[in-house]
């Protein structure tokens, strides 16, 4: 007896087909499959993609459960079409020991809306002084493979080199938040024409690019993998293209907001647009779109960063950095990449599911929708358009930069190992 029969969904790059889900896997793909005993979901006009995988999520638990919890954050993820997320280490306490990553992993299992893979801190307390016990986190029940001090740059070149080398023992990966700290002291927004006008301290592109260049060279020198978080400038794209051209094992991600929004939005002084790295110029946005399309940037990652109202309803310079991303990511990518003809749905599946799952090395995610594959998938209505309503979000926080904005596509259903987490656009 089958669990679900999805009728007539368009597969990326293929014809409409039926998918029969059984026992947590895709049992069969074909036309006019027998739905006897199965719950049938009519998916005419919908696109089926492998469940989305986010390499960069802030779930805020433990520590800031007023802004987000693993339960609320994974509900938001499921509504956004995600079946796996990577929870960043900058919690309180920091995820720099096995105990904390195991707690996050266990809470994710209990929530059940998507897989939660904890990211471990590179250095103790994210302080950039001393390596955290990376091996203990790798060997823990959470099986951590990605390590990042996200929010902080691993600035010390020796520490970065050692981290890149050390994690090779267990197939780990260092994900760097590239930000030269001295060049960005007090920085509030992209440094350029707009910051000059607004009198806000600038965050120059060179502060990101110089660190990416150094880290690519370090990774090449020690023969390690490097992953670059939230690439935001045209110059960074050039450096990545050069490093990849050398055959170095460098991967990179871009956020949805850096694909759509520009630093002109800071002119409102509304901190909902304050994010790190900052929104850049229209030229940077174009370069990032091109880089995602040609594969120089491997993946889209949300950098979903929930913040309590009081941390955003302030003066710009007093506000926290970060914006929500999980529930709008697919729509923003559709707007920036699909509507502009830069990616088709197969390309979206690659950049939002296949590649991130490969980078993270997680089995069971990011696989082609074919018989035998785990039944992690999302059904998308490509013709729908939705106006973003902050109060309707599943996240505990409301800091979406898209409030009131109409965006394309809608997630109709999400399946995690054959079980629906979202049906009819609502939590199942």
């Amino acid at each position: 007896m089958s669990d679900w029969l999805i009728r007539g969904a368009a597969l990326p790059g293929g014809e409409p087909a039926d998918l029969r889900l059984d026992g947590g896997v895709i049992a069969e793909v074909g036309s006019r499959l027998d739905g006897t005993g199965a719950r049938v979901l009519a998916a005419d006009g919908l696109v089926a993609l492998p469940g989305l995988v986010d390499l960069h999520t802030h779930l805020r638990e433990p520590g800031r459960e007023d802004a987000e919890t693993i339960a609320s954050g994974t509900r938001a993820a499921a509504l956004g079409g995600f079946t796996a997320v990577h929870a960043m280490a900058n919690t309180d306490p920091v995820a720099d020991v096995a105990g904390v990553v195991e707690q996050v992993w266990r809470l994710g299992q209990e929530a059940g809306y998507c897989d939660v893979h904890p990211v471990g801190a590179v250095t103790v307390g994210l302080a950039g002084q001393k390596l955290a016990e990376l091996g203990a986190m790798a060997d823990s029940a959470a099986r951590v493979r990605i390590f990042s001090d996200d929010g902080h740059c691993v600035e010390d070149a020796v520490l970065m080199r050692r981290a890149l080398e050390y994690v090779k023992a267990f197939g780990g990966l260092i994900a760097q938040h590239a930000q030269e700290p001295r060049l960005t002291e007090g920085a509030q927004m992209n440094e350029g024409v707009v910051s000059a006008r607004l009198g806000l301290a600038g965050w120059p592109a060179v502060a990101e690019e110089s660190v990416i260049a150094r880290d690519c060279l370090l990774a090449a020198h020690v023969g390690s993998r490097l992953h670059v978080c939230h690439v935001s400038t045209a110059g960074s794209v050039e450096i990545l293209r050069w490093a990849k051209g050398k055959g170095w094992r460098v991967t990179a991600e871009v956020t949805p907001h850096h694909l759509l929004l520009t630093d002109e939005l800071a002119a409102t002084y509304d901190p909902v647009y304050k994010v790190n790295p900052p929104l850049r110029t229209a030229e940077d946005v174009e370069a990032l779109r091109d880089a995602l399309a040609d594969g120089t940037i491997d993946a889209v990652a949300t950098d979903h960063a929930p913040h309590a109202l009081e941390d955003k309803e302030t003066e710009w310079s007093a506000a926290a950095f970060g914006m929500l991303g999980l529930e709008t990511a697919l729509s923003v990518v559709a707007e920036a990449m699909v509507a502009t003809g830069r990616l088709d749905w197969a390309g979206v599946a690659d950049r939002m599911s296949v590649r991130p799952a490969q980078i993270a090395g997680i089995a069971g995610q990011g696989q082609r929708l074919q018989a035998g594959a785990p039944a992690n998938l999302v059904l998308v209505d490509p013709a729908a358009r939705t106006v973003v309503d902050p109060s309707a979000l599943a996240s505990r926080s409301r800091n979406t930069p898209y409030a009131g904005r109409e965006l394309p596509v809608r997630v109709q259903a999400t399946f995690l190992r054959g079980r629906p987490t979202v049906l009819d656009g609502k939590l199942a």
Binding site: G199, G202, Y269, T314, E315
Partner: protein, 322 residues
């Protein structure tokens, strides 16, 4: 005019000239024995100061009182603000008290813009972070026009810490609107990246600019800047970009010297320059009151367009019906 004055860019040419002309009329009040008009009787103006600035706060206070407004001084020190109350809560408190206008000085760029989203009264930016100080630019333009008789075509050099200066930003915008030609002069470290986009010339050479300037405006340079490597020492700054008597002699005969205050005598400006006949520094203070009266009058008095400004301002006597 709009409901708020947040940036000098809020003022079109007609609006800016209306403020200056209104200030000219209101300035005559200062020459009377009783320096008070009933125009804003019953209206409440709050001075909300998150930074110490006795001169600006006093200037606004005198301006509001000369228009008979009730003035409340709400300073960050000794109020709930110093106990960690947010700007939003402060705004809601002022709103509940019925503030018709809030004059705000704040350390954060854009704080007046945020305030304007939370209250229904008018917001006047009295200096926000390193962003703008529009009433300073208005009083500077007023002072130039009084001394030199025009603004159109005037050559104005603004010298000093442009990067961190709200006075420079507002002056560049307003003077461009009014047809003056601005040249900014500073060491390259004290210009913002992106300054090329401003409607102004940029120069690193003060001695080259001075002979072609009708106005030279010296900006305050904080000594702390040298610890962040913006320049090597106060002495070197003073030598290259300070205005001393010898440099002042390079100016055309009728040129004036301005400074928004407070001055660092001996740093960006020599004492004999500050006290010379070319200096307008004391006039600027007096003119500040007139200009701020005009701004409050135009924002609160109901005369929101040029046509609506009648001769009533000049004719109004203390106690006369509005």
């Amino acid at each position: 005019m709009r409901r708020h004055l947040l940036s000098a860019a809020d003022l079109g040419r007609d609006d800016a000239l209306l403020v200056l002309d209104t200030a000219e009329q209101l300035a005559r009040v200062a020459d009377r024995p009783i320096k008070k008009l009933p125009t804003l009787r019953g209206r409440t103006v709050v001075n909300l100061f998150f930074e110490d600035s006795t001169r600006t706060r006093t200037s606004f206070e005198v301006a509001a009182k000369r228009l008979s407004a009730d003035v409340i001084n709400f300073s960050a020190k000794g109020s709930s603000v110093s106990k960690g109350e947010s700007l939003k809560d402060t705004a809601l408190t002022l709103e509940a008290m019925g503030a018709d206008a809030v004059v705000i000085r704040h350390w954060a760029s854009g704080a007046p813009h945020r305030l304007a989203t939370w209250i229904s009264g008018s917001v006047v930016n009295a200096g926000d972070g390193t962003h703008e100080h529009p009433t300073q630019a208005l009083l500077d333009a007023f002072t130039m026009r009084r001394r030199l008789g025009r603004l159109e075509g005037l050559r104005v050099a603004i010298v000093g810490d442009v990067l961190h200066s709200r006075v420079a930003r507002s002056n560049v915008l307003l003077l461009d609107t009014l047809g003056a030609a601005v040249t900014l002069v500073a060491p390259p470290t004290l210009f913002p990246v992106g300054v090329d986009d401003w409607p102004a010339e940029v120069s690193y050479d003060l001695d080259g600019v001075l002979p072609k300037s009708d106005v030279v405006m010296m900006l305050r340079v904080q000594r702390e800047r040298m610890s962040a490597a913006f320049f090597p020492s106060a002495r070197e700054y003073s030598r290259r970009y300070g205005l001393d008597a010898a440099r002042m002699a390079l100016l055309p005969e009728d040129a004036i010297v301005m400074h928004p205050g407070p001055m660092n005598r001996g740093m960006e400006i020599a004492a004999e320059v500050a006290d010379s006949v070319r200096s307008t520094i004391v006039e600027q203070v007096a003119n500040g009151v007139s200009v701020r009266m005009a701004v409050l009058y135009l924002l609160l008095g109901g005369a929101l367009s040029g046509a609506a400004l009648s001769g009533a301002v000049v004719e109004a006597e203390p106690g006369a019906p509005e």
